[in-house]
């Protein structure tokens, strides 16, 4: 019986909430997303984090020579990958965690939940602006790299879409879960650290692909943000695990592991969100 879980397992003193509803109305999500977009635009800090942080990171690393994959084509691909990675990590994961905590603490989540919205609609409404920013940065990054360096080959564009959209969905679920472990907006700065600290060194971001090997690399393959890099490289340049360039057909086979890892973390994130996400402040 899934209908009973959330209210009846909330600790004594916690206020009850309606049972989970399964509805999903694009109209309601759009309305919530519009309000959330307004709030993003009016919050200078969040807006700066969202719009400027990822590109600045890329520019900074490029300027100090942190991204050099040999050829200019490979360097361009690595730059786009870094941009997508940072955008998903900071705009989607970090900013969304903060957003969910803020909406919960100001009792807005509770208000929506008492009305006609379902939980998934509320989470999605909050996530749409972050998705839009991440998507826009991806597109702009590809355009910029194409103009300055060399256009990516796009051996398998589908995998680029899977990396960006799948990564965003996974990180939304993880953000919802992380928000439940954060009592305040400030503490969300700490609770988001473990994922970022673990994932970034394993993210395969810097240096030529295939340079790392052994146990470190094997562990890295299963960290949550790694499939984003793997799929981006496969999709945009056909670069496989060992640095070799693959054909379209080969990229599908090579994508199996990263897609499975991405799906696994999305599932884990969704389960964790169900378990930990809170819809109203602790009292």
């Amino acid at each position: 019986m899934t209908t009973k879980t959330l209210a009846s397992t909330s600790p004594a003193g916690g206020r009850p909430l309606p049972p989970p509803a399964r509805s999903f109305s694009p109209r309601r999500v759009a309305v919530l997303a519009r309000a959330e977009l307004r709030l993003l635009v009016r919050n200078r800090t969040a807006l700066f984090n969202a719009l400027a942080m990822p590109p600045l990171t890329v520019v900074l690393f490029a300027a100090v020579g942190g991204i050099d994959a040999g050829t200019s084509a490979a360097t361009g691909v690595m730059m786009v990958n870094l941009l997508v990675f940072m955008s998903l990590a900071f705009v989607v994961y970090y900013n969304l965690t903060v957003t969910y905590v803020a909406r919960r603490e100001e009792l807005v989540l509770k208000r929506y939940l008492v009305g006609e919205c379902s939980r998934v609609e509320i989470l999605a409404g909050g996530a749409v602006p972050a998705f839009a920013v991440a998507l826009a940065q991806t597109v702009l990054g590809i355009v910029a790299v194409s103009l300055v360096l060399e256009p990516p080959a796009f051996v398998n564009p589908l995998l680029v879409v899977v990396a960006v959209v799948g990564g965003a969905v996974m990180l939304t679920a993880l953000a919802a879960a992380t928000s439940g472990l954060s009592r305040t907006v400030e503490s969300a700065q700490l609770t988001t650290l473990p994922l970022l600290i673990v994932a970034i060194p394993f993210g395969g971001l810097f240096g030529a692909p295939g340079a790392s090997s052994g146990l470190f690399s094997t562990i890295g393959t299963f960290t949550p943000l790694r499939p984003i890099t793997d799929l981006m490289l496969l999709g945009s340049a056909g670069i496989g695990d060992g640095g070799q360039v693959l054909t379209l057909g080969e990229t599908f086979a090579a994508a199996a592991v990263p897609v499975a890892v991405l799906a696994g973390w999305t599932l884990l994130g969704a389960l964790a969100a169900r378990r930990w996400m809170r819809w109203e402040p602790r009292r």
Partner: protein, 322 residues
């Protein structure tokens, strides 16, 4: 066809751990009626209302709203409900109009936003950020959102707490207008005057049980009237007559009280007869009854009498704590 109650509660129970906040409540609210739930903090008002709103499952008994279980079948009725919680928030950076339009966008049958804001006297604040509103204005915006979906059933949990008297009256007029249009309302309040003004029927909760229910007149009729005066002699000096000096008063409840300043206080179930007797008695002895105050019981009196001294005010948040 309208004989079936809109809200029907039978033997409802609600527990928090070992503490039982709602202990077998029966309650009906019929179409177009306003029922007010009264009780001190901790009496179980909010715990009961949350069962009816479908925000929590009952631990026993049966709750029906519009013929459905409001918790398990919430999807089927939520579009017909208007809910004003004691505490629900706003995003401070949105304006009043943006907040209202967002909410309207989530509803099945929204009313026009401008019209609803006018009804709660917030139209002139439409472009103000919610963060800049006063507490009373936020409460009115809350009410606007609760009524935005043109609900068949409206739940108001302390709707006028924090409002100034003028806003409170404006809220009453709005609720009365919705009642006139056929909306069914269940309201909790701390303000007895509010219940007297609005309620067709009242249910008084105490310790998780309904200890009295009925119309204001029913409840008040069971309560003795009060009679109070200062007995003075011909020269204007206060007298303190002994109780034995007083005439026989047919309806008096308990012993009359006379303090050293000559102030007489008594409670009676036969106000007219006893007042007449007392006036005759004073006239015959050429006494003056200063500060004469004879009044039928108020709801407040009935409420306080029921609650002992009415001093069990507990902080609201401890309402659910074991």
């Amino acid at each position: 066809m309208t004989s079936q109650p809109i809200v029907s509660v039978r033997g409802a129970r609600r527990r928090y751990g070992s503490f039982e906040a709602v202990r077998g409540v029966d309650l009906d609210v019929h179409r177009g009626e306003l029922v007010a739930l009264l009780g001190t903090n901790g009496a179980g008002k909010t715990s009961l209302v949350e069962l009816v709103e479908g925000l929590a499952p009952a631990d026993g008994g049966e709750v029906r709203v519009l013929g459905h279980d409001p918790y398990r079948e919430r999807r089927r009725i939520v579009g017909s409900l208007g809910i004003m919680l004691q505490s629900a928030g706003f995003s401070g950076d949105l304006t009043v109009a943006e907040t209202a339009r967002t909410w309207a966008g989530t509803l099945t049958r929204p009313r026009a936003v401008d019209e609803v804001l006018r009804a709660v006297d917030m139209a002139h604040r439409a472009d103000v950020r919610v963060a800049s509103l006063s507490g009373g204005e936020k409460r009115r915006l809350d009410l606007a959102l609760a009524t935005m979906g043109d609900p068949e059933v409206l739940f108001l949990d302390e709707p006028t707490t924090g409002l100034d008297p003028e806003s409170r009256r404006a809220t009453w007029r709005l609720v009365q207008g919705m009642l006139a249009a056929g909306t069914t309302v269940l309201l909790t309040t701390h303000y007895l005057e509010e219940a007297e003004q609005l309620a067709d029927r009242i249910a008084i909760l105490q310790g998780g049980r309904i200890v009295r229910s009925g119309t204001v007149a029913d409840i008040v009729a069971a309560e003795p009237a009060r009679l109070e005066c200062v007995v003075r002699g011909r020269d204007g000096g206060a007298l303190a007559p002994a109780v034995a000096d007083l005439p026989v008063l047919a309806g008096v409840v308990g012993a009359p009280d006379i303090d050293h300043t000559g102030r007489l206080r008594l409670r009676t179930t036969a106000l007219q007869d006893d007042l007449y007797t007392l006036l005759q008695w004073a006239d015959a002895r050429q006494l003056r009854l200063d500060d004469l105050d004879a009044r039928s019981a108020s709801l407040e009196q009935a409420f306080l009498a029921m609650d002992g001294a009415g001093t069990r005010a507990v902080d609201d948040t401890s309402e659910v704590a074991a």
